[in-house]
Symmetry: C2
Subunit: 180 residues, 2 copies
DNA sequence: CAGCCTATGTCAGAATACTGACATGAGTCA
DNA sequence: TGACTCATGTCAGTATTCTGACATAGGCTG
């Protein structure tokens, strides 16, 4: 154990800074989306559907970083507001492709503009180079963590029940990486 | 309004990347902390107390990005496990300073090492310069958002009730700004 | 083709966090 | 000193999300 980094220092810990920034962004987005009648997850859902129409509920869940059960109840509320639509029956298998309704597409445009304004405020102090570095840094972090949990502990592979071990894990993504 | 960025592109949106990285970190930390009997907020609490002993429940709440009500129930569970202690009566005012017990301090050391390992894995692909840039980028983002909600809309200041408008807001950080 | 595995959608219960509201103690200012 | 503002701790109710479990559809392998 190196004595150089004996413990976590919250003032310099990237993890803590990440949580701090994410928390601030969450609050700021919530503040602009709430007047539109949307919470952040609902907005994420609309944005995902705008860019990739026909995604399934499970795919949306992974994209919005929530469990598929949560996404399902969320979709029900969006359906109730006539913002998205799902076919009554699965065209193939059991996957129900979700689509934006015209109302949903319109609301998404408004929400997207509001969120973009928040992002611009967040990045206001950064030049384009710093922005690019931040982007690639975040990508690297997410990628490194999405990789298999090599060391740490066990992970208990053996799936005994149907809902296998980490089958759900809202973390999505799965590139390959390794610790240094 | 630049027409160059008509909408949010999830693949390049810093906000989305931030959420992605934070989500991956959350999952990874949860995976290593759970075997220790801690969730992430509980760990944050122990870490905060290790670095700043005697913090009050409300201060811990802001530091851990949760409401003070949530922090209070969390502290009760930590007290039940004899990991932290609070005086039965406030030494001054109503602020109850929280302290780590020996058991809490010991557990924190173990947890801290585990979390540090996660952070190192997360940063494995970055050199020291990139790490520094990421750190400053995240600081800039958090800072820019914590600043007053200048434009956007309204923000509905008017505090009518006791629990004034944004008095709680688990967003911590800023708190500064107060229109008066 | 049968068996195994994975992924999806769904139901039910539990855990977690938040909002609203209130009383109290401290600091500030006229 | 007295009124006002602010922050803290706390109680109660609500909302959101997660975990566990199950049946079914599709792909893969022997």
């Amino acid at each position: 154990m190196s004595q150089a980094a004996p413990d976590i220092d919250l003032d310099t810990s990237i993890g803590y800074l990440l949580k701090q920034a994410a928390s601030a962004l969450h609050a700021a987005m919530d503040a602009v989306l709430r007047p539109l009648g949307l919470n952040i997850t609902q907005y994420s859902c609309l944005e995902l559907l705008a860019q990739r129409p026909g995604l399934s509920s499970s795919e949306l869940a992974r994209g919005a970083f929530v469990s598929r059960q949560s996404m399902n109840v969320l979709l029900q509320s969006l359906e109730g507001d006539d913002l998205v639509s799902r076919p009554g029956q699965a065209p193939v298998g059991r996957v129900l492709p979700v689509q934006l309704t015209p109302a949903g597409a319109a609301l998404r445009v408004t929400a997207s503009a509001a969120v973009r304004a928040v992002e611009e405020r967040m990045l206001g102090g950064l030049d384009r180079e710093a922005e690019g570095q931040l982007r690639s840094g975040l990508r690297a972090c997410a990628g490194a963590l999405s990789a298999a949990y090599a060391s740490s502990g066990a992970a208990s592979a053996a799936a005994s029940s149907t809902e296998s071990t980490s089958g759900d894990a809202a973390t999505s993504a799965a590139s390959a990486f390794r610790r240094r």
